[in-house]
Amino acid sequence: MITISNLTKYFDEICAVNQVSMEIPDGSMFGLLGTNGAGKTTLLRMLAGILEADSGEIRIDGEEDSFSPQCREKIFYLPDDPYYFPNASIQVMLDFYKKQYPELEMDAAVYMAQSLNLDQNRPIRTFSKGMKRQAFLILALCSQTKYLFCDEVFDGLDPIAAEIMKNLFRQEMKSRDFTILVASHKLRDLEDICGNIAILHKGGVVTAGDFKNRAEHVRKFQCVFPTEADLDSLRNHPAVLRFHEDARFITLITGGNPGEVRKALEEQNPIFLGEVPLSLEETFIAEMEGAGYDIRKVLQ
């Protein structure tokens, strides 16, 4: 498990990460969500041992020195734009990583590369962006580290490539004790694979946790009301988190006691009243706007 306590990082006068505390449980896929400049990459780089925190503490499996090679053997950091040696092929990078991560499974890597139609002897520089990402994902997954930190790993990938990579993650998590920390600025990239998500904003954690569970009390209603209905009372109802009006077609997202909310809606004699399932995105909107944050940019 990774425990982060009061982690702070300044870049000159700018506070990139501000008193961040969280726990990343083992065997989970943890999402870090935030706009550009929210501090996701800085947090990842600190966890990977690239940057030193100004204050606070990182403990990886309880170890105090997160910079020790022993501790870092458990981590593979996959940045947004990974580095590879000039003219290096997948095979060259595999040979290099094998020296750094002795547990690296060469055969599995070769098999995965062949499965994804990646020529392991072709220079990586000749690969497309998606192919490069797939190649590095193979390296990361086959390194057999306990933790994988990925930065914007799905950014710029076509849907098929993104789905292939997500499947690779899922398979690896099923097969062994594997924890993935993924940073992204798009909720859609994370919503179908991450159980836990932390939202970062201006260096701080806005909220973190399992949002699907936390959204149990949040409901989404679609209704059509007659003209004489008192929509203002509905709009100002304390349980209503979001109120969207399109002529007489109203969409509401509500919190509080679902029974009480339905009762309040029925009091207005709706012509149509139906409850529809919430997406993770809408759950976030509700959570965040309820907490007073404008995170629409995050959810673009």
């Binding site: 870049f11 000159d12 006068e13 780089r45 990977a48 041992g49 690239i50 940057l51 030193e52 910079f67 020790s68 090679p69 022993q70 870092r72 053997e73 981590i75 593979f76 950091y77 940045p79 734009d81 990974p82 580095y83 040696f85 000039p86 290099f96 020296k99 750094q100 991560y101």
Partner: protein, 698 residues
């Protein structure tokens, strides 16, 4: 994995790409092959180790290039993230690259030098006795040169966050010391110290603070004589300075690589302290240099040194402040940062600015306040081992004298200071004369200006007083004297004094000492004279004298006695009659003795031996004369005239004096505005001799 294996794995990893290996092994092996090919044919003046300028440049270049090749990753954010995210400590990556760079230079360097040493020993007998010492010293010194440039490069790459400041910083490190000492501190001394000639400490500093000059001293690359090179051992101060250039950057970058923050890559400096240090160094240099530049531009030092000093210091402060603000403005440009002063106000580093200005003021004040102490200083006789004396215009050709007066190089002065080195009775006489010289110039009492009765325009001992203008009433010094005190502690102190007519006459007390005359008119020992050939030269032809050994000895004795009796004033009365040329196979034997009309014993013997001592150019048959005349008021422009009319030729040849007779332009000046080339018919050999002459003053 043990730490040794772990480290060696990273040393091997540092060799990825093989660029360092290719460059180091390639250049050194190529050097070895080319050197070995040339050694066989040029072993007298071609050296494979110390004394080799080529190896010096290769080692210095490798140091600079390999430091950038090995440590460039420190300036590459992607690569840095890649390495630092791996299960390895940052300092393992750093030191493994350091060792990798060293290894790939030291191994081929040792191999190439050792192989060349073995090869030269196989055929060069002169080299054999010093083979081991020379080869060993060569390996050590060139390894030292590599380390100097390698460490400076690593330091710059460690403290900088961006390639531009790293490269500029490297250039600055190489030239800073030389610019500071040569172009700032020395001009301050030259402008404010009235008796300034040279300060050996500054010259030493100039070498010690400039890595390339230091490397030249360390490896003896400025030496050319074979035996001198083979025996060369750098001085203790050079070894100490080289060690400092190696160790200090090593300590600094060892500390800096620990403090270096990854996130500062891309900014100008990765270590904020380095930014301040660079600002301070540049600002100080700009202040000190601008101060003296303004002083020289205004030329105020001659009229009022205090006003010039105040103006110089004020200009220095203004320049220091301007450079400080410019650097603050520039800090952050092109790195995505706001300029420094926008981040913390224009005076965000006000105390640093104050310290920089204070350093400029202190430096300026040190020269101003130290001027009187410098000028009035005369070492006690007990402290002085030898005194070197050179007076402009005495014992030198007019060409040298003219060059000195025009402010050009003082080659002849340097030679004279070595030649006229007085340690016995000459030293006592010279010390007394120098004291009177200093007193006359009122330089012995601090703060005093030169005596007004001396009529000096200023007390500055500059080389701008033409002797021809000098007269008792002209107020200009007749000439200048350069003095070098060789101290018993090994130090050297130089002074330049203006010499007026009275002091010039008083110099006879020094000139007429036996010690000075031995230096000015060296005469070969009798024991060497036996196998030497003696001839009489009248400036046109040489006449061989067939002398027995006892005749030669008698001639040399006569010369010695005449020189001993010679008075300095006699130089003002006549020119040479000619010279006795002594030609011998023995090296270092004094080869030419000037003969003046007052050398009665010598003249009598020469006549007896059949030397035509009365024959002058006028006695020869001159076919034609070319006269080149300096145009009036147009310096450097000359007009030429070819004369072949017998009457005119006759007139010119009566006035012409061979240039080789022009040895005392101060005492017996000729008409230097006319240069004459006489075409003389030598009837004995039936040939034409071209004789370069000056004209006697009319």
């Amino acid at each position: 994995m043990t730490s040794e294996k772990y480290f060696s794995k990273w040393v091997r990893e540092a060799g990825r790409g093989h660029l360092t290996a290719l460059l180091a092994w390639g250049s050194l092996l190529l050097y070895g092959i080319i050197t070995a090919a040339q050694l066989r044919f040029k072993s007298d003046y071609f050296f494979f180790g110390m004394g080799s300028g080529e190896l010096l440049r290769i080692c210095a270049g490798l140091g600079a290039v390999i430091s950038f090749l090995e440590f460039f990753y420190l300036l590459q954010p992607k690569k840095l993230d890649f390495y630092y995210s791996l299960p390895v400590r940052k300092n393992t990556v750093f030191w493994s690259r350091y060792v990798h760079g060293l290894m790939h230079v030291f191994i081929p360097l040792c191999l190439v030098i050792a192989a060349c040493g073995l090869y030269e020993s196989s055929f060069d007998i002169d080299f054999l006795p010093s083979a081991a010492g020379y080869t060993g010293r060569s390996i050590l010194t060139f390894a030292g040169v590599f380390l100097i440039f390698y460490h400076v490069g690593i330091l710059l790459l460690t403290v900088c966050g961006n390639v531009l400041p790293a490269v500029l910083g490297y250039v600055l490190c190489l030239f800073y010391g030389h610019i500071l000492v040569g172009y700032a501190l020395t001009p301050w001394a030259a402008n404010y110290f009235r008796t300034y000639y040279r300060i050996p400490t500054f010259e030493k500093l100039d070498i010690m603070l400039a890595p390339f000059s230091l490397a030249r001293e360390l490896t003896g690359s400025n030496l050319f004589d074979k035996f001198e090179v083979f025996a060369y051992v750098p001085s203790g101060s050079v070894i100490l300075a080289a060690s400092e250039w190696i160790i200090l950057p090593l300590l600094l970058f060892a500390a800096a690589q620990k403090k270096r923050k990854t996130e500062r890559v891309g900014k100008l400096f990765a270590i904020p302290l380095a930014e301040r240090a660079a600002e301070c160094l540049l600002t100080f240099l700009a202040g000190v240099w601008s101060g003296i530049f303004l002083t020289e531009l205004t030329g105020l030092t001659d009229r009022s040194p205090e006003a010039a000093g105040a103006a110089g210091i004020a200009a220095g402060i203004a320049a220091a402040a301007a450079v400080h603000f410019l650097l603050e403005l520039g800090a952050g440009c092109g790195t995505g940062q706001k300029p420094g002063f926008l981040r913390g106000g224009i005076f965000r580093r006000k105390w640093q600015l104050a310290a920089e200005c204070a350093a400029v003021v202190f430096t300026g004040m040190a020269f101003l306040a130290g001027a009187s102490a410098f000028d009035s200083y005369l070492p006690k006789e007990g402290q002085v081992e030898k005194i070197g004396v050179s007076i402009d215009g005495i014992g030198m050709s007019n060409e040298s004298y003219r060059q000195i007066r025009m402010g050009g190089e003082r080659y002849e002065t340097v030679l004279q200071l070595e030649r006229y080195l007085l340690a016995e009775e000459g030293k006592t006489a010279a010390a007394a004369w120098i004291k009177s010289l200093a007193e006359k110039n009122r330089l012995t009492e601090p703060g005093l200006e030169p005596a007004p009765e001396a009529g000096m325009e200023s007390g500055r001992a500059e080389n701008k007083a033409p002797a021809e203008d000098a007269s008792p009433d002209s107020g200009m010094p007749s000439t200048h004297a350069v003095i070098c005190f060789h101290m018993k502690n090994g130090g050297e102190i130089y002074r330049l004094y203006p010499v007026y007519e009275e002091e010039l006459a008083a110099f006879a007390a020094v000139y007429e000492t036996e010690e000075y005359k031995r230096a000015a008119y060296p005469v070969a020992d009798n024991e060497f004279a036996g196998d030497a050939r003696f001839s009489w030269s009248d400036g046109v032809t040489e006449n061989l004298m067939k002398l027995e050994k006892h005749e030669k000895e008698a001639l040399l004795d006569a010369c010695r006695e005449d020189i001993s009796d010679m008075k300095m004033d006699s130089l003002k009365e006549t020119l040479l009659l000619g010279t006795v040329e002594i030609d011998s196979d023995r090296a270092m034997l004094p080869g030419s003795i000037p003969v003046y009309p007052c050398f009665t014993r010598t003249c009598s013997l020469l006549e007896q031996y059949g030397a035509p001592i009365d024959r002058t150019l006028a006695d020869y048959s001159v076919r034609s004369v070319s006269v080149s005349t300096e145009k009036e008021n147009v310096w450097g422009k000359r007009s030429s005239e070819y004369v072949d009319d017998p009457e005119e030729v006759e007139q010119w040849k009566q006035k012409a004096v061979p240039k080789s007779f022009d040895l005392q332009p101060l005492f017996y000046p000729l008409d230097y505005s006319k240069e004459i080339q006489a075409e003389v018919e030598d009837e004995t050999t039936n040939s034409i001799i071209h004789v370069n002459c000056y004209s006697r003053e009319e």
